[in-house]
Amino acid sequence: MTLWRQAALLLGFQLRDELRTGEVIAVVIPFGSIALLVIPMAVGIETTLLARIGPGMYWAVVLLFGVVVTQRSTASSTPSHRDALVLLGVDPAARFAATAAASALLLLLFEIGVGLVMIVLYDPVVVGWGWLALVLPLVAIGLAMLGTIAGSVTDGGGALAPLLVAPLAIPILLGAAQATEGLRLGAGILRWILVLALVDVVLALAGVLTARLLEESSR
């Protein structure tokens, strides 16, 4: 069986598992929305200020709560299940790809859900909304892979994973924030798209190449 077929099977069952627990949809998205709601209460309801800081606040929330999405309980297997997959001959890179893909889809859902809340609360001025169709998936994929690698390094996440992800996600946060700032100012954002794409490629290579090593070290 090919690596991609293994990854596709694992992805399907992981998403089914996640939909049953509802951790991201029922907990993380509402919690992220509340975070966006309390910021105007803290800085004051000045519409011009909110419109200006809205996208930045949005990306900060995506980064911080995105870590929670990647470290959700359904993203890691029990040791026995992991052993069973190893004995079945499942490629560690397939497991990485499946977990990262599930996280990316859930992060995209999170970005869209929280993004709508941000638009309603902050009313940001953004020109060229179409570019977001590229920026949002690139950020989701990057954060998902970073979170999956961190989860493997810390053997199932725990308190250490967010500490690992947050600083390493700075290039993603920077690229995303600069891209939306460029859209607000009506400037070109191609170079920031390329930065995000490059980070994703580097993380994909790192994830696939270290998957076996990380799996063996966790046993």
């Binding site: 069986m1 359904t74 040791p79 004995l87 079945l88 046993r219």
Partner: protein, 217 residues
């Protein structure tokens, strides 16, 4: 010419920071043989089982499992011929028993029907749609045996396989052990209950403080 042993390991040691879990363990498991592994908690039984499952790399010593040398890439080829039933079931809690078995069947290159049949064989066809999280320990253990049937392994490793099982399920364990040994495979059973597994094994080994201290019939 004698058949190659299922397992032939010698001088196996497993070190962990501050502890020597296994020391100088040698074991041969022949085709069609079932061995019982006994010992107190912390004596190294589970670690030895994981070494035989190729999941734990020995710190020193070596040998072969199903003809593959431990610590080499060759073990990856034989892993699908090994089944390990550990303390905790290898089930995803929020998936149904049927979904769990289907996932494993598909990953093993088998059909969905094979998963259904294996659940039927362990008496769980009526519980196929029940989530693993809400099943009893005994049902989860039976589902583990369905997984073993699906894998049809040449080396079966059972870690406290009788825990949480009623007498009828005990017969199921006997049936599975006999089916593996009957087709020339090997079985290692870790247990605290000598009386319960006594009829299933050809000989017994006792581990104490990481060493084999006793070899029985």
């Amino acid at each position: 010419m004698p058949e190659d042993p299922i397992v032939a390991v010698e001088g196996i040691a497993v070190r962990r920071p501050g502890a020597l879990i296994l020391r100088e363990v040698s074991l041969e498991l022949r085709s069609g043989e079932a061995v019982g592994l006994f010992g107190a908690n912390g004596s190294g039984k589970t670690t030895l089982l994981r070494v035989l499952a190729t999941l734990t790399r020995p710190s020193s010593g070596g040998g072969t499992v199903l003809g593959a040398s431990l610590g080499t890439d060759a073990v990856e080829r034989v892993r699908p011929r090994i089944a390990l039933v550990a303390h905790d079931p290898a089930l995803v809690a929020n998936l149904t028993l049927g979904e769990n078995l289907r996932l494993l069947a598909l990953l093993a290159g088998r059909g969905v029907d094979d998963a259904t049949r294996s659940l039927e064989a362990v008496g769980l066809s009526g519980a196929s749609g029940r989530r693993a999280a809400v099943c009893s320990n005994g049902m989860r253990r039976r589902a583990e045996f369905a997984r073993v049937m699906l894998a049809a392994p040449d080396l079966l490793l059972l870690d406290e396989a009788h825990v949480g099982l009623d007498p009828a399920a005990g017969d199921l364990v006997a049936h599975i052990v006999e089916s593996v040994t009957g087709r020339g495979g090997g079985v290692v059973i870790v247990s605290h209950e000598r009386e319960r597994v006594g009829g299933l094994i050809d000989r017994s080994l006792t581990l104490a403080d990481g060493r084999i201290t006793e070899v029985g019939r």
